[in-house]
Symmetry: C2
Subunit: 342 residues, 2 copies
């Protein structure tokens, strides 16, 4: 087995760097390979020593600056050249690392990745990707926020990239690709959906047409493409309704002693429900379309979540996701020689 | 008190006409005024007799055709001139009824209403409206599906119409108006949001800027405007996540005897949660912008739901919603004399 070198942003999670340090330690236990932990070296070194770890277990790469949630994405890329985000991505660019994992500011990660790694040749817009828990499985949804206004061609590329990811990472052969729309029927949709549909139809992908949220959650598709505005509304509505409902349930259950007892007895069931919904369990999501492997976790990640990001990144390296993504885009470009190849 | 004449589509709900018949009977008990029940007269008359009701309690208006869910909206308006939908709307147009309530095909209702009643003078696009249960209250959201591609001006008009509705029907003084977006911050949004924002800012409405789904569900705004594609994705994602979660909870709770017992003890709490989410409890939603009062209920409505639609329609008549809507649009037009007044 080739060695896999994962660069890990030590300063990504809301409670950085503790979850990252613990995840780095657990990663060494699990795979016997040191993670490249990127952040303020002195601080990280002393904390690592506190955990009884040395540079054989976790390699520290110095990056004195931290990208904050308040940093504007566009400024952060150029403005903080030695942030942990920037230094981590440079490790991928130089080939010193095979992939970069961060739980930091998503917009900043996208801006930095575009600035430092660029796009895969032929990709017009990289997509922010999320892996949603759905009935007995997962769905890959993109774009969930990087590109608020999209051209039909972008949706086609999201479909190609998402398809390769579902196949490679989730092990789904010939993934079913759909467009998120306001009705399942062909002909439903806004202008973008109507223009993108025939392109997807002709793409050679396993395109199954429109889906609504209901079908998405009942696992009718493996890959769902949408523009970043709608995808973001979908993502945030999903989170908001889950949180609204679970608060409502909590409030009602604790409103009487008998139902409180009921809630207590049913607690393991609720915990399993939470586990299904917990982003830390389904891992970090890839930035698809940038020219290097970048995985973005949730700011709320603990060490378990960060470790799941490292796992997803290692798997992508081992299965050579980058080559597959590049090949899929090149194949598409070759099939359409009249299109420009920016 | 003036008399209020409500035309009720007898053939709207999925299990028509039973819920409509029962709701009509309950409406008479409650308000001592007969509903105008629109549908196949012979069938309705014999069923009414079975309920021990005569024409003093429920007036029957004959409409031999039924608008099916499979009828295409555009065809249904012209194609079925004596459907219960068409006949009911004609009663409003002729002044024989003050409002029309239907739980039928939403697209068909919109198409028929536009064809038979037309738009309020100055309104460019009527909006489908939904009343969402949110933290300790309700939010008026439009458009949720009638206009997939919108101009900024439509969003401004949705805001005016929704504002009047929130004030009149929900009793909210100076309703807080927001745009659904992919971030709260000013400057976030797709092109449509960015173009509509300054128009709303200058409108004289109580415009509070962008909201995400999270703020919408925590009652940060009373009226939320969006294009019909995004609004529809928001609506259907909300429904899909609620249903996905409650199935998941049911499945996990019944997976062990102890948590099943817990679920049993907590059942009243779950029932209260369901009551909050049940569309029948928060009633039918108005078609805002057509030139007449039309309320659309859910196909799954039982008699309680249909009755809530009748109640919402009666209230709108009593509070003279139509005049307020017309005045608000006229005031807006007068403030912008350079705009065309189609």
């Amino acid at each position: 087995m080739q060695s896999v070198r994962i660069a890990l942003d030590a300063m990504g999670t809301d409670s950085h760097p503790q979850p990252e340090l613990e995840a780095a330690a657990r990663a060494f236990q699990q795979w016997q390979e040191p993670v490249l932990l990127v952040g303020p070296a002195a601080e990280l070194r002393s904390r690592l020593a506190g955990l009884g770890l040395g540079s054989d277990q976790v390699r520290i790469i110095d990056a004195p600056e931290v990208l904050e949630m308040t940093d504007k994405p566009a400024d952060s890329a150029r403005g903080k050249p030695v942030s942990s985000m920037a230094v981590g991505l440079e490790l991928v660019k130089s080939g010193e690392a095979d992939a970069f994992v961060t739980s930091g500011n998503t917009g900043g990660a996208m801006a930095n990745a575009l600035f430092r790694l660029g796009r895969i040749r032929g990709v017009k817009r990289p997509g922010l990707t999320a892996i949603f828990p759905v009935q007995d499985g997962h769905a890959v949804v993109l774009d969930i926020g990087a590109n608020t206004d999209c051209k039909p061609e972008y949706l086609l590329q999201f479909a190609i990239l998402g398809s390769v990811y579902a196949e490679t990472a989730l092990g789904v052969p010939s993934p079913r690709v759909a467009i998120l729309s306001n009705g399942e029927e062909a002909g439903k949709g806004n202008l973008l959906v109507k223009e993108a549909s025939p392109m997807l139809q002709a793409s050679g992908l396993n395109f199954i047409g429109n889906v609504e949220a209901k079908e998405l959650y009942s696992a009718a598709a493996d890959v769902v493409v949408t523009d970043g505005f709608v995808g973001n509304v979908f993502l945030k509505t999903s989170e908001a309704v889950a949180s609204f409902l679970s608060n409502l349930i909590k409030q009602e259950i604790t409103s009487s002693p008998i139902s409180s007892l009921g809630g207590l007895l049913a607690r393991p069931a609720f915990q399993r429900v939470n586990a299904v919904l917990d982003p830390a369990k389904y891992g970090a999501a890839p930035l698809l379309g940038v020219d290097g492997l970048v995985f973005i976790g949730h700011g709320r990640f603990g060490d378990e979540g960060v470790l799941s990001g490292i796992r997803a990144a290692r798997q992508a390296v081992e299965r050579d996701l980058m080559t597959r993504l590049r090949d899929a885009i090149q194949t598409r470009l070759a099939a359409e020689p009249h299109r420009d190849r920016t």
